[in-house]
């Protein structure tokens, strides 16, 4: 198992143990184990086909896993049908009942457990207030915008006060601006209610902004579990490094037990990275925004000369292509507009840059992408 959160004292609310899911001869999930703690917001992140939705559907009891078990709140729910589990779910397609009003949609499950109409009406009004749609209850879903429909779906999912909220790509069908707005609101709402939440997404920005912890998946296995910061700062594999954020992948080789050779430059490694050194070719990774230009002197660690080959204007910043050696030895660096102006960075200019050792990661070359 990959490194887990240190918090072992608490009993996890949702425990997934050695879950494998096979569709015929295809293995969609391979021996997945995972803990989700009470009140936590966890994102399953990965490219399409990585198994994240399959894992969510196993947790919901929609496609029950082939092997392994799932516990929720201490109860073994491994083989239970969806109707006997305790969750609310929101889909990318909203799945609102088109012929029912917003009120009827939100109150759909309440009719079964509550007797009085007034009670249902009050609860529905409260839920719609909660998702920011008061007084929209008499409309039909088709009269609402996509973002509003997804809020209704959220209210419906929360109506039964479920122990677990499952979100299956809830924002993917929305416009970019609505998406940014709604992800903020959903996260806020989740924090306020404290409901344990699992969201599936392929959008790394969504995962980074909303999740307490991210589970990065690839080909049916978990690549890394960690906070957004950990995932971004210390990717556990070349895949995670590439999938989350932008990353330079540079061919390098081992120089000695503490240093690598990038072109003709010796670069120091952090203590943790040194452990990964062996004889094989190496991929050195650094994020474009971590490349340092200011305050470089002879004492600065990992500094070297580069030539600006190209400069791409991206609005709030510029992405420079820097050459540190032969043709093809290029590295991308993000510079603020101010910096570009102050240092007169133009194509052809020679500048000295540095890669701080704590921003430099290495992976075996054969694991690339």
């Amino acid at each position: 198992m990959s490194k887990d959160v240190a918090d072992q004292k608490r009993e996890a609310y949702l425990r997934v143990r050695n879950v494998t899911k096979k569709f015929g001869s295809f293995t969609a999930l391979r021996d997945i184990s995972l803990d989700v703690y009470e009140g936590e917001f966890v994102c399953f992140l990965g490219p399409s086909g990585c198994g994240k939705t399959t894992l969510l559907r196993a947790i919901a009891g929609l496609d029950i896993q082939t092997h392994g078990s799932v516990f929720q709140g201490g109860r073994d729910i491994s083989g239970l049908p969806a109707s006997e589990r305790d969750f609310g779910i929101v889909f990318q397609s909203y799945a609102l009942f088109p012929n029912l009003t917003v009120n009827e949609n939100v109150g759909y499950g309440l009719v079964n457990i509550r007797s009085s109409k007034a009670e249902i009406a009050a609860k529905v009004a409260e839920l719609l207030e909660l998702v920011g749609l008061p007084e929209q209850g008499d409309k039909y879903p088709s009269q609402l915008s996509g973002g509003q429909q997804q809020r209704v779906a959220l209210a419906r999912a929360l109506a039964m006060s479920p122990g677990l909220l499952l979100l299956d790509e809830p924002l993917s069908a929305l416009d970019a601006k609505v998406r940014v707005h709604l992800r903020h609101e959903m996260k806020e709402l989740q924090r306020r209610l404290g409901v344990t939440t699992v969201m599936v997404t392929h959008d790394q920005e969504e995962a980074l902004t909303m999740a307490d912890r991210i589970v990065v998946m690839k080909d049916g296995v978990i690549e890394q579990v960690g906070t957004p910061e950990e995932i971004y700062r210390n990717p556990a594999s070349a895949f995670v490094a590439e999938f989350v954020g932008t990353m330079n992948f540079l061919n390098a080789s081992k120089a000695n037990d503490e240093q690598i050779l990038l072109g003709e430059n010796l670069l120091n490694l952090d203590e943790a990275e040194r452990q990964k050194l062996n004889g094989s070719p190496i991929l050195a990774c650094v994020r474009p925004e971590d490349i340092q230009v200011r305050n470089i002197d002879d004492a600065t660690e990992n500094a070297f000369m580069t030539t600006v080959k190209d400069l791409e204007f991206l609005g709030s910043f510029c992405r420079a292509t820097l050459c540190y050696g032969d043709e093809g030895s290029n590295i991308n660096a993000d510079f603020s507009i101010n910096l570009v102006r102050d240092r007169n960075i133009i194509p052809g200019a020679k500048i000295r840059v540095a890669i701080p050792a704590n921003s430099l990661h290495i992976f075996p070359a054969d694991t690339a992408k």
Binding site: Q65, H67, P81, A82, F91, N99, Y108, Q143, M160
Partner: protein, 567 residues
């Protein structure tokens, strides 16, 4: 994580079924049994009958050998194919142009022309036969047009079949022409392609699948049709009338079964090709295209307009002739109009009672058929697990399309009239007529249901489960209301077909349960052609009225639900 160290296979998780799962499976088993009993077992009974002698011993292919060594019998194969191929060529040619005009030109009154062209759907297939007797028969008003040729025989059959199959071909072809992508035509224009080359390089490939599908649908309809050759075929035998003659005329059930199997083969082949082609057509539809907007073109449009007028006039004329003849007191000697021919009670065939039977039968078929078929389709589409059984049911649902009505009716005799069959008590009753009609028209209704159900969000059931709401509540509160237009379509389709069908029920009615279409056939058989025409007109009027009510209902429904229905 990646190390596969363990050698012991972990236990497979056993999924516990919810109550919903059990209920759904019970329904699926129920619908499966229904199809087995009303379709599969009768067909099996028929197949086995064809390899038995009269006393019920197995004789292998002896009956078939007898069939193929009797020229009077196997000549019908040639006749059937000749009729089917000729009719198909004529129908498809006429309908293609008509469909092209409706979909791709800017002539006025398109709605009227389309309505006129679809009129034959409301009539039993014997109506054109009767009408042609009055138009081209020995005392026909247009007899001279035929010269020395007789309408009784291949000419009459082919003309009748063209009338009867025209709307079926037209609907498929209009759909094919309507999915044209305007961008392709713009591209052709920009590349300075001539009209004719555009037709062959853009238009024709676009409707290819629709055209093939229409050809096979028409071919199947013609080769399995019984009403027209019965009324106007004279001495010209085809397979469908042979079955009738063997069974009703000579009580030779075994030979009837053999002819049925022979008729089944081309129908099954045509059906298989059609299904294969339709799958491709669907793939074409999914691509979002810019709809083609026809531009006015004076000369072409004038020619098209005249063409539509002529075709519509012919269709209306044929129905009108039957209608007129039904009011004429005594053709051709006393042309005074009267309602004498509608006095069915003084004639053989069952009288007005048979019409009320038809109404009852059509109503039951529409109600029970719609409930059974739609619910069945829902269970098959939405249930989880049970894959093999669901697959088998899907397959069974497709069979009726390939089974000619005559064959199904005969199969019912063998199965339900068998002394050992515990279900034998329904033989000769109203229920067996309803059941055979539901079975006969199952496929189209099932496909309509499936299309509607597939447009529903597949997660509705999941959401319901997570909200602890049993599936049947969602089925009644959401699925049925949302699918109501499709459900209405199915019920009207079943009603009109039950009203007009002859083939499947001809072997199964009893004196108490005679039907209007059968009464018409029997009156025609007995020489009462005018009353037969009158009965056909009653059927047409009923179908038309019900269609009208359906249109009004759909319209009202659309207005009522337009708040949420924005498709």
């Amino acid at each position: 994580m990646t190390d596969q160290g363990f050698s012991v296979t972990p236990p497979v998780v056993k999924a516990r079924l919810s109550r919903d799962d059990w209920v759904m499976r019970a329904f699926i088993v129920g619908i499966g049994l229904w199809l087995v009993v009303t379709l599969l077992l009768p067909l099996y009974a028929m197949l086995s009958k064809s390899v038995q002698s009269k006393d019920g011993t197995f004789t292998g292919l002896a009956n078939y050998i007898e069939y193929f060594s009797t020229p009077a019998l196997f000549n019908s194969i040639n006749n059937s194919f000749f009729i089917a191929i000729t009719s198909t060529i004529i129908t498809i040619s006429l309908a293609s142009v008509f469909a092209f005009v409706l979909a791709r030109s800017s002539i006025p009154f398109k709605g009227f022309f389309k309505g006129a062209a679809l009129l034959p759907l409301l009539a039993p297939s014997l109506l054109p036969g009767i009408s042609f007797v009055y138009l081209f028969g020995r005392q026909g008003v247009l007899k001279d047009l035929l010269g020395d040729a007789s309408i009784y025989g291949p000419i009459g059959i082919i003309m009748g079949e063209v009338f009867y199959t025209f709307p079926h071909a037209l609907m498929i072809l209009i759909a094919a022409f309507s999915i044209a992508d305007a961008r392709l035509y713009e591209a052709a224009q920009v590349l300075r392609t001539g009209r004719i080359r555009t037709f062959f390089t853009v238009t024709l490939p676009g409707i290819k699948y629709g055209l093939i599908s229409a050809i096979f649908v028409v071919f199947t309809l013609v080769i399995t049709d019984f009403g027209i050759p019965k009324v106007i075929g004279g001495q010209y035998n085809v397979l469908a009338t042979d079955i009738y003659k063997q069974v009703i005329g000579q009580q030779n059930f075994e030979m009837g079964a053999v002819v049925s199997v022979v008729l089944l083969i081309p129908a099954v082949v045509a059906f298989a090709v059609d299904r294969f082609v339709q799958r491709k057509q669907v793939a074409m539809l999914t691509a979002r295209a810019v709809p083609y907007e026809p531009k006015p073109h004076f000369w072409l449009d004038s020619v098209f307009f005249i063409y539509c007028v002529v075709i519509s006039a012919m269709i209306i004329g044929i129905i009108g002739m039957a209608g007129y003849a039904s009011f004429v007191t005594f053709w051709p000697y006393n042309l005074e109009l009267s309602l004498n021919n509608y006095n069915f009670d003084v004639m053989d065939g069952g009288g007005w009672a048979s019409f009320y039977n038809s109404l009852k039968m059509a109503t039951y078929t529409a109600i029970f058929g719609t409930i059974i078929i739609f619910t069945g389709a829902y269970m098959v589409e939405k249930a989880k697990g049970f894959k093999a059984i669901r697959g088998v049911i899907q397959f069974l649902c497709m069979i009726p399309m390939a089974v000619p009505g005559m064959v199904l009716g005969l199969a019912y005799i063998f199965f339900f009239n068998h002394p050992d069959n515990p279900l034998g008590f329904i033989y000769g009753t109203m229920p067996i007529l309803v059941i055979v009609t539901i079975a006969h028209f199952y496929t189209v209704s099932h496909l309509t249901s499936m299309t509607a159900l597939k447009q529903m969000d597949p997660e509705f059931e999941t959401v319901s489960a997570s909200l602890k709401v049993p599936f049947f509540r969602t089925f009644l509160k959401v699925t049925v209301p949302v699918c109501l237009p499709a459900i209405l379509d199915i019920s009207i389709y079943l009603f009109v077909n039950a009203m007009t069908t002859v083939s499947a029920v001809i072997f199964l009615y009893s004196t108490d349960t005679s039907l209007a279409s059968i009464a018409a056939l029997n009156m025609d058989d007995a020489g009462d052609v005018a009353p037969a025409a009158a009965m056909c007109m009653v059927i047409v009027a009923t179908s038309a009225t019900v269609r009208l009510i359906h249109a009004l209902l759909s319209r009202g429904l659309q207005l009522k639900t337009q708040a949420w229905r924005k498709r």
